[in-house]
């Protein structure tokens, strides 16, 4: 799955995205974040404060309980602040 990062998450990761294959145990967005946070200290820190993370699957905003299976692009970013 293609992961994309924006704003503070992008800066914390030092990258605007990466390719990642989730194990079969990862069913929801919440599972994916738990799993990602365990991949490296950098991931752990970038995804530490869940209240400051928002998500989009294939460019649609979703919540923690959304199923990730079947999605092509998974975006992780802070709450939006446009306008």
């Amino acid at each position: 799955m293609k992961l994309v990062y924006f704003a503070r998450v992008r800066e914390a990761m030092g990258s605007d995205g990466e390719e990642m294959e989730f194990p079969a145990s990862v069913l929801t967005v919440g599972d994916a974040i738990d799993w990602l946070a365990a991949q490296s200290p950098r991931h752990a820190e970038a995804f530490a404060d869940r209240s400051k993370l928002r998500f989009a699957l294939d460019q649609r905003m979703v919540k923690f309980d959304a199923p990730v299976t079947g999605a092509t692009e998974f975006a992780i970013f802070p709450p939006v602040t446009g306008g």
């Binding site: 924006f6 503070r8 460019q59 802070p78 939006v80 446009g82 306008g83």
Partner: protein, 146 residues
């Protein structure tokens, strides 16, 4: 008629309102957001999620058009770096009725702030700081639900 643009360049409010007036309606409302120089801010920088941004702006325009029976709806949002006093965003709505145009305009700017993937960084001289989402913006965005 929906028009959405995410662009680096400034926008032309006269051209945009004229385009919606051409539909022969009675009322056109606009909202322009401008970079404020609060607390020593000298400039801002806007990052966005290409593709999703345009889709989400189109979505809220479609909702507004349906809910208020608009004849036209335009959102132009700038990205990149902007100095204090520069315009950031323009919303234009057209309707036969003034209350519909004004309410839809308020809805669009409120929803844009909670639904569209833009992230703002404030500059104070060379020091950059990400802007935190305001609780009041979230509440205002949700106030249009139901």
């Amino acid at each position: 008629m929906i028009r959405v643009s995410v662009q680096r360049e400034a926008f032309d409010i006269a051209a945009e309102t004229l385009a919606l007036e051409a539909a022969g309606v009675g009322a056109v409302a606009t909202f322009t957001g401008i970079v404020r120089g609060d607390d020593g801010v000298t400039a801002i920088e806007l990052e966005h999620y290409p593709g999703m941004t345009e889709a989400s702006l189109n979505d809220i325009c479609a909702i507004a058009q349906e809910r208020w029976g608009l004849t036209g709806c335009t959102i132009i949002h700038r990205v990149g770096r902007m100095k204090v006093g520069e315009p950031i965003v323009l919303v234009v709505t057209a309707s036969p009725h003034r209350a519909a145009a004004l309410e839809a305009c308020a809805f669009l700017i409120d929803r844009l702030k909670t639904d569209a993937p833009f992230w703002k960084r404030e500059y104070r001289g060379d020091v950059a700081q990400w802007v935190e989402q305001k609780t009041s913006d979230v509440e205002r965005g949700q106030s249009w639900d139901g």
